[in-house]
């Protein structure tokens, strides 16, 4: 009983920690399978996270009697999700415009979005909340299980208690995207555009359209990943967000060899290792006397690196990943 409880709580925390990584990494999978490199996951997460809080805040009508201003907790978090998705889609569209229509350098565009997000969200934080630390608490999905009925199930109920809408998305979307990519005609077209756009074009597939849709989908997923951090794991936007998780998501995507389920498992592997090291630190603090804390925190990264170097082998991206497609160009 004791061990199952432990196991359950480990899974529950791994899923919670893993949600933003999974969602963002899936964004990477969508984009790169269509041949557009998306290094901007980090920046898209940051924007999604901020605008979700802003959306929830702005939708609040009530006036707080003490603050004398808008009551931050009175908003609708679903509006927050909409804001996060919208900003993600817009930034995805921008990245698509540069990468697809202007045939610009996709890595440069991604880096630019990241840098802009860094300064831009600090600017907006100051503009709307008069701070450069963190926003006030807003109405969020923190501690709101999507399906409360499941929480009553003995033993495993605890897992469902922490599963808000984002965690549910994170555990179902990998399979939905897998089905889409590998079992539908649209998915076949999607992948063909990433592998051999010329051939796809010859067969009448609209390369630009698919790439645009994939990039926008990627923005939406990365935006949602940010939303899941700010109004899912917390109820505010912290200026440090997403603290490098977008890059971890990028790594998870490569670790998962650009497949949705592989990426899902890679993300869970990474968060599993993180949860484990935190668990060992709390349960057996005496270990810290022998092994310094730095090694514990570095453990998931070291483990990922070792596994990649030792077992996983060559990571082969979709063949046309990162190369703009020019219609009528000779191969």
């Amino acid at each position: 009983m004791q061990t199952t409880n432990l196991f359950v709580s480990l899974i529950s925390s791994a899923l919670q920690f893993g949600t933003p990584i999974i969602l963002a990494a899936l964004g990477g999978v969508m984009c790169e399978n269509a041949g557009v490199v998306n290094i901007a996951l980090e920046g898209m997460m940051r924007m999604g996270g901020f605008f979700a809080v802003l959306g929830s805040y702005m939708s609040s009508k009530g006036i707080d009697p003490i603050l004398g201003s808008r009551n931050p907790l009175g908003g609708n978090p679903w509006i927050g999700i909409l804001f996060g998705i919208a900003v993600g889609a817009l930034v995805g569209l921008l990245h698509g415009y540069i990468s697809i229509s202007l045939k610009g350098n996709q890595i440069i565009s991604g880096v630019a979005i990241n840098v802009f997000a860094l300064g831009g969200m600090t600017f907006f934080l100051e503009r709307y909340f008069n701070t450069t630390g963190h926003s006030p608490s807003v109405n969020s999905f923190l501690g709101k299980p999507l399906i409360p009925a499941l929480v009553k199930i003995p033993v495993v109920g605890e897992i469902f208690a922490t599963m808000n809408v984002f965690v549910w998305l994170a555990v179902t979307l990998p399979f939905i995207i897998h089905f889409y990519l590998y079992h539908t005609p649209w998915g076949l077209r999607h992948r063909s555009v990433g592998e051999h756009p010329k051939a796809a074009d010859t067969l009448g597939v609209n390369v630009y359209l698919i790439r645009y849709l994939a990039t926008i989908a990627s923005g939406v997923l990365a935006g949602l990943a940010g939303v899941s951090m700010s109004i899912g794991q917390l109820d505010l936007f912290d200026n440090h967000m997403p603290a490098g998780l977008g890059f971890i998501a990028l790594a998870a995507m490569i670790f998962g060899k650009w497949t949705p389920i592989g990426t899902f498992l890679a993300s869970l592997f990474f968060t599993g290792a993180t949860v484990l090291q935190i668990y060992v630190q709390t349960v057996a603090p005496q270990v810290l006397k022998i092994i310094p804390r730095g090694f514990f925190i570095a453990f998931p990264y070291i483990l990922t690196l070792l596994i990649l170097a030792g077992f996983v082998g060559r990571a082969i991206p979709p063949a046309a990943d990162g190369t703009p497609y020019e219609k009528g160009e000779k191969l």
Binding site: S109, A112, F123, R314
Partner: protein
Amino acid sequence: MSTKTLESSNGILNWWNREKERLSNFLVPIIAIIVGFLVAAIMIAASGKNPFAAYSLLFRGAIGGSFQEIITLKVAGEGLLKGAILTLTGLSVAVAFNVGLFNIGAEGQFIVGAITAAYLGFKLDISPWINIPLILIAVAVISGLYGAFAGWLKIKRGVHEVITTIMLNWIAVNLVENWLVVGPFNILRYQPGAVLAGTPYVKASSRLKPFFTGTRLNASIIIAIIAVILVYLLLTRTVLGYEIRATGKNPKAAKYAGINTGKAMVTAMFISGALAGISGACMILGTEGRYPGVFRPGYGFDGITMALIGGSGAIGTFFAAIFFGLVRGGATGMQLIGIHKTFTDIIQGIATLFVAGQVGIKFLLYRIGEKKVLTKEVAESADD
């Protein structure tokens, strides 16, 4: 209308048409930066503040308000110092770009260099002329190896450099800040009862001292300029540089031509790591004086932007870094009217976005003159 008069009136356009391809390489980043400033100004205006006031504070803060401030580098010194650090991390990323690798790991290599310099700085105490070169060489070797490791993993184990350098960043940050700095290198080990977090101060003989009183500008800028010259010569005048660029342009063709592309990659990553490490060392030996408890200034990531705006060349990266160094130095002044200093990231981000979409700018640039030449061609054919 005779062809002759048309030709003379088209003199500038003809020259433009001949040179536009070459000139565009300079013009694109400059236009991008101008657009960056414009968009940022709109954002300031939209938030109800005066962009002119903000920018005048920015430029006064960057270069100096009075003649005396300019001549003594009192204000500009801060910007040049930031520029020097950015130059080194920018060069680091640029060298990796030249071999076709994306080194996101400059941040980690920077931290490895910083802690190495902090440790050797308080261990060694000989004379500045021996200490500082010795520390810089040690830093270059250790950070270089840290960078080369990612290159080695790429060629031997086939692991994508983006993933390895991201992991190596976090490994460096955590092992340095949650182990070395709080453990074996902690100030309390050497000076019990100290109230500071971080490592002990480096010896005076290891410090890069300010040039003048009233400014913090120190020899970092000289180190950066030497690095720019060396990287420029390496990339354009040496066999290794040729091999690096050939590998970056087309690894298969380079291999076919008999170039050891694996060696070129690992060597380039070594140089890349060494440059980022020296950047970190300059900050520790210069302004910081020791490795503080938490030290993540983000210059490694900024190096990516510098290399990209600078077109991955040594000189371009240098100009981009000095420019943005000055802008950042000045941005602190904007806080007077309530604009956070990270505001420069907005300018930097938008400028980079336009560099990414440079095909668009180039297309417009190329259009200039095209119509006129067309009429000229029509006139010529009419003359025939």
